[in-house]
Amino acid sequence: MSSGRFLDKSLKYDWLFLGITFALMTVGVCLVYSATTGEDIPMYDTFWFKQIVYFFGGSLLAAGIVFVKIDWLKNIAFPIYVVSLVLLCIVLFLAGDVVKGAGRWIDLGIFKLQPSEFAKIAYLLTISFWLSKHPVSLFKLKTFAVPALLFIVPFALVLKQPDLSTALVFIAVTLVAFFFAGLSLTDLFLVVSPVFSVLLSHSQSILFQVLWGAFICLVVFAVFRRRLPKALMAAILVVNILSGYASSMAWNMLEPHQQKRVNTFLDPMSDPLGDGYQVLQSITAIGSGGAVGKGFGNGSQTNLAFLPEEHTDFIFSVLGEQFGFFGCTFVLLLFALFLWRATSICKMSSDPFVTLVTMGASTIILFHVVVNIAMTVGLMPVTGLPLPFISYGGSFALTCMVLVGFLVNMRLHGHQ
């Protein structure tokens, strides 16, 4: 921690952090280049070149954000939150351009705006601003009213698109924000416990029954340890047990083909001819990379177009195939360093807003990294979350750069 503090105190800019960001972007452009070569199109039309343009534009935007006063960010938080809701409504009800069956875009002519990306940022600022003034506590349930309202509106609009994975980003940001605005780890555990109840009790097998029983005991223990008000204690237990039973009942009420669809979503490999096909190809590509990979530009799996979305959602499999285990762990290490440098910013300031924005931004990046990579290695459902700084895509590249802008800004102005 001492070296970290040294880094923190001595420099206005964290050059290590900026270097990592630049390294990740470089890796991204190289991989996009590798994944999309062979198509005979002029340079300015290639994916990798466009990606550079997006990053360049994003960097300018980030640089602009860096010099904005934090107070000003606080002031615009709520207005841009409202704007983002309006945009979400527009895309949902009016101008939805159908991409892969989901209306998520607004075409601005030169640029296709993805309001859900904008909403992520707006929500981050707003929830951070509110929670920095009004911490939450399980002992005062009233404190959850406004944050819940702030959360539910964009969440529902994004879910309606339908864009489940982006909606889950909102949940992740909210939970982490609560964690840094008053909840303890035990509290957090109690808040999310019904979800685990649902997951553990959907199966009738003995193993899951026992696991769920144990889980309920754990919840009881946690509830008593926290000495929560009696009504809340009862409520948490009842919700857990009810959601458990409701889950198994709902599960049994589903038609077999519906059950199959849920299973396929949770475990794509159970449907190797559908979603599983992509995952299987991705796993094969990554696995065939071995320790050091086949070398840059030598991916037989990816070059052969087995993966239809190799330059966006499945970019990590290009990395795995061409640079192997060491390449993958190197990139994971870059992300770990990125998050470490990002979270260290909190320590420079006593302003809870700085903490909340920093941790929220880190959470957005972390969530995308974990969900995306877990998908490409077959550990998680196939969702549409891209890999930050590396996947091809304009809107998301801008989001990432804006988040970087916030982080640098917090470091620069946070201790004032």
Binding site: V176, F179, F180, L185, P272, L273, Y277, L280, Q281, I283, T284, A285, I286, G287, S288, G289, G290, A291, S300, Q301, L304, A305, F306, P308, G320, E321, G324, F325, C328, T329, L332, F335, A336, L339, W340, T343, C346, K347, S350, T355, M359, S362, L366, V370, I373, A374, V377, G378, L379
Partner: protein
Amino acid sequence: MLNDNQDNEAVQSRNWHIVVFLAGVGLLFLVLVIRLYSLQFTHYEENLQRSENNRLRKVVLTAERGYIYDRNGNVLVRNRPSYQIALHAMSLPKKKEDRKVIFNKLLQIKDKEGEYLFDTLSLDTAFQRINWIKTRPIRILEDATAEQVAIIEEHSSELPGVITQIESRREYPYGTLASHVLGYTSEISEEQLKLPEYESYSLGDRIGQKGLEQGYDQEFRGKNGLKLVEVNAAGREVGQVRGVETQAPITGLQLISTIDLKLQKVAEEAIPDSVKGALVAIDPRNGEILAMVSSPRLDPNIFSLKKRERNKGWAQVALDSMRPLTNRAISGTYTPASVFKLVTAGAGLEYGVLSESKYYPKSCTGGYQYGARYQKCWGVHGNLNVVHALRLSCDVFFYQAGLDIDMARINEFGRRFGLGEKPLGVDIPGEKGGWLPDSTSFNAKNKRLGWRWARGLILNLAIGQGELVTPLQQAVLIGSIATNRGVYQPHFMKELRDENGTLVRRYEPKIIRSGHMKPETHRILMNALDSVVNHPGGTGKRGAVPGIRVGGKTGSGEWKKGEKTHAWFAAVAPLNDPQIAVAVILEAAGGGGAKAAPVARKVLMAYFGIEEEETKK
């Protein structure tokens, strides 16, 4: 101080939370690293093999299209295997020079007669498309013969990426028989693919066009299966991926149609391709269509041939001035001619204007003076009641009856028995409705010509010149008049069964028009139908069948001055228990009694199983 302490506590708590967060990051990343290790070290060999030597390929198993049977289980439409030679991008060499070698080799391949299998142009197109379409095979030889396949397989070692695929294509064993009813299949067009109703189809799918093939396309299609196979470097299947279940294709449903093959054959033979016309035979008790002919015909087999021959055949039928693509039996609208006198007579009887004892003051002297106009009759018939008038098809009687009854009542009676603008809803596409003009619709239709409705028009309409009907409507009309139990929706689908023969759906007969008249009206009309055919002076006596009481009505539709009339004959039999109604139209053939009645007779004879020889004895 207190404040500082509080702050200090808060800072400590925050730092602790950051540690927890980073620990969570570490844990998650650890899981990912372990998974990567497992893939890239533990299962390295397996994955490398899969990606290098063997490749995974998703193969669509096309579902077998359902067959069509006649009502007695004879196959009307079946499938045959068809071989396609195709290029698979992923198995072709990557270098341009290597591809060029394969290109040249293909160009040199000849069959036994010394003909080249491929031509430069189409091969060049295919090799161009390979650059864009990587996951799907590109066809270079369609519907290849067994010999051609053998030649390609011989050279397979020199031709990596050139593969043989088996498809199934439609085969119509009876050629042109019932071609308009059956329809045909073709590859779905790109325009169709853009429409929302074809969402479930993909490029290269075959889709039913026209007839039952289109009407029941969803049922015939079944559901395609999928399998995951490993192929070797040349693109040939070497085995299935272990642990991956194949989704077996589900064969489409089999359609047992109402068509009677024997009857259909007789009907087809009765109308040669040189004559434009149509025939419909229907069971009026339930709406089952027993036979339907539209002449001239086309051979749907041409649509299953390879492109060059298909285009040739298509050009032939599409440009033919006889318009063989049109199903005249349901899309052809004709003036009903004297057959319509049944409706006029029925309306008159139903509304009490006519009766068996009703005679008109003006007897038929070969024509009728209406105002300044003199309307001719086709003969001189004298003074007649309604039955005699129908038997002789006397126009003068119906001129006067029409004026008496008025068009609104006549049309109402016609609509009861299936005439009119609304199609009957037969289960193949393309059906048109007819037209029963009244003053409003007449004025609307002829607005541009400046024609106005006038009472004098009733003269023509009463004898069936001016209305429009389809041959199907004509058959339904006479059938339902004879049964007097309602108009059943005409249809071709009797049953749908799955490949094991289990019944999936049965057509439930459905009454679509009331089709009812007073018993007295019915009795008189039946007498008239009887006398048209069985009275020595009846116009339809050429439609008589020995041993069976056939009822019928002739018609000779005027359509163009100086041309022969369209010959109509509508018949129903047996009159005491109607089982079959037949309508025949032969375009520009002459008189209905002379030309159309013998055609209907052949069908009726076949239906009742009466041999031609017996009648001669």
